[in-house]
Symmetry: C2
Subunit: 306 residues, 2 copies
């Protein structure tokens, strides 16, 4: 059960390998839980599968698996929540890529959904992915206790809603048109990417009915890690290649968009990301050796090239 | 508590009056539960309020209030679920009206959301309304029993997802481009509008922990009523005025779209709607006199002019 905690080695290579193995497990469950194309609406299921099953790091669901391992949550439960997290993430990518939003043509190394299908299908596939995430969590196989499932659904609804992902994307669109300060950018990222990352980490603790101190520690870890992750994303938009990232690069600067890198410069942004990752580690002390993988993951996040 | 059941009179006028009173109650709760505009993302909350608070019949949430009255559910509980139903409905209207979907300019007598704001804001406001519906149901104020709240969330997720509203809208878009038979149109409507109407009716029974026979009767009532409602919608698109309906009329024929009216003709469509309403009534026998309002509502639906 403790496949990530038990993962040997300390280098970035070891983390990448463990993440790839966990991603393969997650993809297997996604395959099973995504609807099969059938009936006159089959195009919808096809589009959902295209968007979700494209190769990805599965960073968020891996966080759920890793935090669930801390509390000896059965793998089957953890995987269902991990998959729900990935569905919510995939939905946000599909909508963020739309022509009326960020107008992106490449994602995860393949044409974005509206390019491959069409805009209407992309809106609908996104619209279908989030309720599917809720359905998966609501099912008794996720956890025998209804209170636990309900708490997960409530937290996911908050992370996905106006005080989470959607609110963050709204700010993101608005800062394209007017200058923004570091406070606005931080709030934007905390809502847009931070809220779901925090949910992904806390979910393991909820499934394991962990004490509040553990939950708060994981939320704090997620908050710092999420910001570090986002700063590195901004850096990769400046310094990365389309080949490595699987999406268009250089677009933020092209839009004159306020990002951490635009506001801080490359060097200070990199320092800030490293500092945030260190800060993330500090929250894990209460888990002692059991959090070794989460520590390595935090370092991996700031060193990643895609 | 039994404001709808106790509503006097039998004519359509009485139903319209009772619905208006219930709609005012629902609107009051919507006002309170929609987020207040604040922070850099305030535009999102403004857009959500614009879309949801526009005057509407509140047909779906009234169904939730009326079915909840059958089982003596506290008004406060019933209103929270009714509001969640209306949010889910408003979200679907905002997305269906988008340029890449039905490309509508008027809704509920005012410019559609993407016309008033912009397309990106309309996508996001829609995206924010559904999670808000889930948050409202998940809150303990909706019902003291977590199992009940969870069951409502699970049913709403199903009604909103690929085997519900979104699947139906996918079929709707596809039948614009190729001929469809009555079976396809029926399936489209059962998913697109029927699933949420069924949820709205069943929700009262779930809140009241009604026996399965009662739940099944209400689902059957909802299924027939939902189709009758939709056929009348199609008829109003042919025979109604923009002034009365608050939206563009004649658009289905303009698109050469397969609808009940296109396939059956006006007269047979009207007969079919009346027959479905009668069929809906038959399912209410087990509730005897207590279902008088639901019966009047079914008749009202087929006689309505908007």
């Amino acid at each position: 059960m403790e496949r990530l905690i038990a993962q040997p080695g300390t280098g970035a290579g070891g983390v990448a390998e463990a993440m790839a193995a966990a991603a393969a497990e997650i993809d297997g469950v996604l395959q099973n839980l995504l609807p099969e194309p059938s009936g006159p609406e089959r195009r919808l299921a096809e589009a959902m599968r295209y968007a979700v099953l494209a190769p990805g790091k599965r960073f968020r669901p891996v966080l759920s698996l890793a935090t669930a391992e801390l509390f000896a949550v059965p793998r089957r439960s953890a995987l269902r929540v991990a998959v729900a997290v990935e569905l919510a993430h995939a939905y946000s990518l599909v909508h963020d890529d739309l022509p009326c939003m960020d107008d992106d043509e490449m994602r995860r190394g393949q044409p974005t959904l509206h390019k491959k299908y069409d805009e209407a299908t992309a809106v609908l596939a996104g619209d279908a992915l989030l309720p599917l995430a809720f359905e998966i969590i609501a099912h008794p196989e996720t956890h025998p206790d209804a209170e636990v499932r309900l708490e997960l659904m409530r937290a996911l609804a908050e992370a996905a809603g106006p005080r989470g992902m959607v609110g963050g994307q709204m700010i993101d669109l608005l800062v394209e048109h007017k200058p923004a300060d570091i406070g606005t950018i931080t709030r934007m990222q905390q809502l847009k990417t931070g809220a779901l990352i925090a949910f992904a980490c806390e979910a393991g603790a909820v499934l394991g009915r962990a004490p509040n101190t553990a939950r708060q520690a994981l939320r704090a870890y997620a908050r710092d890690l999420g910001l570090a992750f986002q700063i590195v994303d901004d850096l990769l938009d400046v310094e990365g290649s389309e080949e490595a990232t699987g999406k268009r690069v250089g677009k933020d600067a092209g839009l004159g968009k306020a990002t951490f890198v635009a506001l801080l410069g490359v060097d200070r942004a990199r320092t800030q990301a490293t500092m945030l990752a260190d800060q993330a580690l500090a929250h894990l002390d209460i888990f002692a050796e059991r959090a070794a993988f989460l520590r390595r993951l935090a370092r991996f996040v700031v060193q990643r090239s895609h």
